[in-house]
């Protein structure tokens, strides 16, 4: 996985340039408890990773071209400020999106993962969106749209989890693990939206 990932433009998991997350491993442990994310979930995510490994391109194409492209207030975030397509930007971010599916399933949720979650989170905001790919697009993605789109990802991933013939209860456990991870990640992705505030309740 790491070898393949080296070819992905702008994908910097584990790189020295990625800052340490302001979210601590203890924060993460508490979040896992709040979300009910268990060791069993980690095991079933690993199985899901094997199932999804050769399907990430199809999944991301469905999300991006099949769903997001038809919703103007979401599609604009991969377009230029006049609403014109930015094919290179889309292609690069799609490759990272595909890799994120694998990282979600196959990486340990350790300090490197936590640091890179924060990097992804910051790349949604005006602090860093567009900079990795040197494009002029919307300055940030509203937090509400990141939160909301999780439902679509959760619903559309399920048939893919079932595509390699696992028993129904195994698919259910993979799906439960996936949903728990999504909710955990949304909580992490919300952090920079609150963190830059002066008068805000602690994220």
């Amino acid at each position: 996985m790491q070898e393949a990932a080296k070819d992905i433009a702008g994908y910097m998991f584990g790189a020295a340039e990625i800052p340490v997350s302001p979210v601590s491993l203890q924060d993460l442990e508490r979040l896992k408890i709040s979300v009910g994310f268990t060791e069993e979930d980690a095991r079933y995510l690993a199985i899901a990773g094997e199932v999804l490994a050769d399907r990430t391109k199809v999944i991301v194409a469905h999300w991006r071209s099949g769903i997001i492209a038809s919703i103007p207030h979401l599609a604009r975030h991969s377009r230029d400020l006049d609403g014109q397509a930015l094919p290179d930007y889309l292609a690069r971010s799609n490759r990272r999106f595909e890799q994120w599916i694998l990282d979600t399933c196959l990486r340990p949720y350790d300090q490197d993962w936590l640091n890179y979650q924060q990097e992804i989170a910051v790349r949604h905001t005006s602090v860093k969106k567009n900079r990795t790919d040197q494009v002029q697009s919307t300055p940030y993605i509203p937090l509400r749209d990141i939160i909301a789109f999780i439902t679509v990802m959760n619903d559309t991933i399920k048939p893919h989890l079932a595509a390699k013939g696992h028993a129904v209860n195994e698919v259910e456990k993979m799906h439960k693990a996936w949903r728990s991870s999504m909710q955990l990640q949304i909580a992490l992705f919300a952090q920079p939206y609150a963190d830059r505030a002066l008068s805000l309740d602690e994220w």
Copy 2:
């Protein structure tokens, strides 16, 4: 539903004192699109509301006494600042929590609902937590814990949706509708955490 709700301390759905939400009905329509919340979901939530109507006490007791009470970083939000129980506060907020299940399923998602969503959201933050019930507890609930706990609510609601003998595919549709509503509501609940910021990306 409205008649019964009058007896719930601090429950003020539709009351003149509830401010108009800064989130517009157009924002809500866009959010519904982002989340994939459809007319079919609204219909299946109504069915879910009938199924859950006589079970809300059991469900909230499970969430609060069965799960939250055993997680110190969540339980503290219903306790005093020394960690001692506040039984009246808990009882009052449990009654509102029960009513929220019904409102989720049975209310139209209109301006009154949007206004009250914002009221609930603000009651999680330091602007208004504790004030409705005149208690001294934690000043706010971190956004991350609100986001994370949704997974537990989604997973534990499912057997209740199946408890009145509906067909498996009906239960699945109720559950999909419930999950979509939860994600929609989380996006709304996130708004005041961002809104009070000075330098923050638009929620």
